[in-house]
Symmetry: C2
Subunit: 202 residues, 2 copies
Amino acid sequence: MGRPREFDVEKVLAAAGDIFWARGYEATSTRALTERTGLTPASLYNAFGDKRGFYLRALRYYLDQTLRERITRLESSLSPGRAIATFFREIIARSLADPKHRGCMLMNTAIEVTPEDPEMQRIVADETVVIERFFHRCAVAAQKNGEIPRSEPAEDIARMLLALLVGLRVLARVRPDAKLLNGLVRPTLAMLGLSLPRGKGS
Amino acid sequence: MGRPREFDVEKVLAAAGDIFWARGYEATSTRALTERTGLTPASLYNAFGDKRGFYLRALRYYLDQTLRERITRLESSLSPGRAIATFFREIIARSLADPKHRGCMLMNTAIEVTPEDPEMQRIVADETVVIERFFHRCAVAAQKNGEIPRSEPAEDIARMLLALLVGLRVLARVRPDAKLLNGLVRPTLAMLGLSLPRGKGS
DNA sequence: TCGCATGTAGATCGATCGATCTAGAAACGC
DNA sequence: GCGTTTCTAGATCGATCGATCTACATGCGA
């Protein structure tokens, strides 16, 4: 089977994700990637195909490590209403804790992807659907158990929460201010009969 | 004073803005700009300095033509509550009417700007403050005249509406779907006692 | 009418881009 | 131990980047 890889794929994806996350796809050169990861161009291209494939892998790794992890953890351990509120609390804490103010890699990708790359566009769109479905499941269950009112359909509540999340993550990049981020979430949760829980976020 | 310009600066800014808006800063080459505007590199660099300065001018032109125009128009002709609702209706209509699904040039800039360019970051941040202040003025006035409830402070309502707008504009880029965009605005407006007015947007 | 500042046209600059090539090292199956 | 395969190292490819240069055209002030 030949010589095995010497580097840790996950570590490389995390390192590459860091720089892709902060600077975006176009502004990140393959030189910067080799320097940051410590790998040679040959190793990178051999392992990940090309720059675009490398970005896709790094994005997927990011999503698995942060977004999907958070959804499954909160959904399995909290009531639907508290899952929604805690989701936002964690995102706010995470956004404020990042000294580089990178926002969310998924949203950054959503903006940067051009119409010439429909595949990447679909990947991003599908991932927002995953988030929307999480909110929808929570909204349905929370309306059932009385945590949030039934005045609005769960579908629209999920859409609203998705938009709020996107706005939060994008604003966190240009205005990483605790008053702004907390304040923007508070009225929506309050109107749903929820509130931001205390405690530090993950 | 020498030979005058042969081209229309506003037309050039509009044309350049089109491509910057759709593809972003990094992915737009100076070649594409010269081809799209019909100007030679010398004319562009002579008139606008460099690529970054050109982008800044195009962005400012875009903001003056769309965002600031809309704010002053709605604020001077409608009640504060209806100004908020109509603002969102127009944005939704505009987002859906754009066949290229470019979203909002300001939000696109907010995402693409790197930490290495604090000046551009500040320009974007300041512009979001302009929007937030518009919402804040509307919220204060609407709470005063009873159009929206006083259960939440106007500051937070403005922050929430800003985040909703950002989310709406970003999602419009990857998922330009009428059900999503209308649905995401509806619950928030409903909770404020407002609703999306009828009629086509601008 | 003429000097000249400023325009336009288009070739072309060095730098850097993403990607590949050659060379050699290392670990697997046998 | 040997052949094979896949790895790493680092130079380097052609293309394209943002930006500039030379050459020339044009219209204003006097």
